[in-house]
Structures are given as C-alpha cells and as structure tokens.
C-alpha cells in the first residue's frame, strides 16, 4: 500500500489583459507546485480568459483579519481625504494655466 498523496490548497490569481491587476480567481487542490500550475491552467486559463496566472500555496499566505487592527472602533474619518474640497482650487489652477477640463473619467 502507498500513502495517499498529500493534497493542499493553492490560490490562483489571474490577469485578464496586459496592465490589469492580478485578481483572485479561486483555488485548486494539488500535491505540488507543478501540478498546481497545470490545474490552475485548466480551471482558469483553458478558455483563453487569462494572459498570466500566479499560483500561491495557501500556507504561504500571511493572513491579517484582526478587527482591532483593521476595523478600529473609534472614529478615523480624519484619516480619509474626504474632508478637502478640491474642485474650486482645481478650476482656478486650470484657468491660470489655460488648460481645459479633462474629458471622460479622467481626473
């Protein structure tokens, strides 16, 4: 008899097109990195939906989900930039430099 192969979880990140951020796609079970990459390719790349995959052993991921560190109970809104109104300053700067307002989503 042979011992059952030790399977473990591997997390797969994928990039859809050049310049995109790597996004978590899902996970696969595999006994080692080589087969994990093969299975990632089959599950997240065989329909040409990815141009790059990253495969990471789940055990190698350092998890941080402590609410005391990430969601402290006191008001922290002063750490967000929402309090500053930039619109008027930007308009004045544009007028000064003669630049027009950018179109579309830019800015």
């Amino acid at each position: 008899m042979t011992a059952e192969p030790q399977l473990e979880e591997w997390e797969v990140f994928r990039q859809e097109k050049e310049g995109d951020a790597m996004k978590h796609g899902g996970s696969v079970m595999a006994p080692d990195a080589e087969l994990a990459v093969h299975y990632a390719r089959e599950l997240f790349g065989r329909r040409q939906e990815s141009i790059r995959l990253w495969v990471v052993r789940r055990a190698d991921i350092h998890d941080l989900s402590d609410p005391d560190l990430l969601q402290p109970p006191l008001d922290r809104s002063f750490k967000k930039p929402g309090g500053y109104v930039m619109r008027d300053k930007l308009a004045a700067a544009r007028e000064q430099s003669g630049a027009s307002k950018p179109k579309g989503n830019a800015g």
């Binding site: 008899m1 042979t2 696969v28 079970m29 595999a30 080589e34 087969l35 093969h38 299975y39 089959e42």
Partner: protein, 262 residues
C-alpha cells in the same frame, strides 16, 4: 471550391499524403475519445477537468485534420463522414491506441508513449512544403506542448513513487510496449513525402529519434523497457475488441440519427 488542395502532387504522393493525414487524424480521434472516458471518474476533480480538456483538445485536432483530409481527397465526404461513417476495419490509428483506457497508469503510459511519438511527427512537419498542413501543425504543436508537460509530470510521479503506483506503471508499460512502436511505423510510400518536402525525414528516422528521447527519460526513471520495432503491415490494422467497443460508443449517435446536426 472546385480545385482540390495540392494539385501539383502526383497521384502516388497525394495518396501518401492522404494516408499521413488519415493516420494523424485517427490517432488523435481515438486517443481523444478513449481518454474522454475518464470524465467524471478521474482520480481527483482537478485531474478530471485536465484530462477531459486534453481529450477535447485531441478531438479538435482530429476535426481540423479530417477537414484538411476531406479537401485533399475531395471525394464528397466531409470531416464528419470520414470520422464516423467507416467500419472498424477502415480506421487507421496506431495499434498502441487500441489498448483500452485501463487504469490511471495505463492511461498515463499510453499517453506518454503516444505524445512523445506524436511530438516528433509534428516537429518533422513544422517546415512542410504543404502549406495548409504546416499552418495547422504550428497551432497543434502549441497545444501538444502542454499535453506533454502534463503527462510527463504524471509519468515522473508514478515512476518515482514507491509501491503500488510504480508497480502499476511497470505493468502498464509491459502491456503497451509491444505496440508502442506502431505510431511511427513507416507509412506506405512515406519516402515520396520526404521527396516532396512534406515531411522532413522518413518514418524510420522519426522512430529512431523517438527511441532516443524516450530511452533517455526511461533511463533516468529507472524504467528498463524494450520497445520492439513494429511491423509496418500490421501497425495500423487488425484493431482490438477494445476498439470495437469504443467504435460502437462513438458512432452511436451518428447511427441513430444519420445526418443529424446541432
């Protein structure tokens, strides 16, 4: 289209080309169907997806090769008619692929022996003077690269594991070894294909290349295997009962509804 492809070829060379295309298409078709028998029952979910997807790739290659063959032969049959409407005796795949799917070790051993031989055959067609085949082979080779990586990973694991996996692999190789040489056994008149620049070497030379490649890997993995040279007269004939059964399976829908499309 009224003109068939490759009009410059003399009839003997055209026949040899047809047999080359038929042998390649039938090889891919039969191993594709046979390996698709793992769908739903492979050793683990991820491997189920992988093997099914590889089997599907092979059927895609077979379809493209049958289409090209239909244009070369130009006798009114389309790719589906060639693929499905022949009796068992009309199939021209290598006898290596007549072996049943068997257990996982059988499948991996068969696929390794086939994929290495097929890879050498495709390499020899990469610069083919017959442009439609050269262009198709360029695409097929890119997919076969992955197939070979996948099956090699498995061969290594079965060969390197102690106990049952290695024992099963050795039994599988014993069963398959007598027919392993059938894939690159010389086709009738293959030298005319070399003369016409359709393939870069005779099948005798391809077979020798394959033995070097496989021999190197087997030596590294401690697999001492004798792979006899196949008799060209029977390399692609006298198909097995296992193939008879598979043929009944893959022609069932076609026989039930002749000419059906979807």
């Amino acid at each position: 289209m009224t003109d068939s492809l490759a009009p410059d070829l003399v009839p003997a060379t055209r026949n040899a080309l047809s047999l080359l295309l038929l042998s390649m298409a039938d090889d891919e078709f039969v191993i594709g169907f046979s390996d698709s028998e793992w769908t739903g029952i492979a050793p683990m979910l991820e491997e189920d997806v992988a093997m099914s997807s590889i089997a599907q790739d092979e059927l895609g290659h077979a379809q493209a090769l049958y289409r090209l063959l239909a244009e070369v032969v130009d006798d009114g049959r389309d790719a589906d008619a060639i693929a499905y409407d022949r009796p068992v005796e009309g199939y021209y795949h290598a006898r290596l692929l007549d072996h049943p799917r068997g257990d996982w070790a059988d499948t991996i051993a068969r696929r390794y022996l086939y994929d290495t031989a097929d890879g050498i055959r495709l390499d020899a067609l990469a610069e083919s003077s017959f442009a439609p085949l050269r262009e198709l082979v360029a695409k097929i080779r890119r997919e076969e690269r992955y197939h070979l990586m996948h099956v090699s990973a498995w061969l290594e694991r079965l060969a390197s594991a102690r106990g049952e996996p290695r024992e099963r692999l050795l039994l599988a190789l014993d069963r398959l070894a007598p027919d392993a040489g059938t894939v690159l056994s010389p086709l009738p008149n293959d030298l005319s294909l070399v003369m016409a620049g359709i393939i870069d070497s005779s099948f005798d030379e391809l077979d020798a290349r394959w033995r070097v490649e496989v021999g190197r890997v087997f030596e590294r993995l401690g697999l001492s295997m004798v792979l006899p040279v196949a008799d060209p007269l029977t390399a692609r004939t006298n198909h097995s009962d296992a193939f008879r059964w598979l043929h009944g399976e893959f022609t069932a829908v076609r026989r039930e509804q002749p000419g059906a499309t979807w």
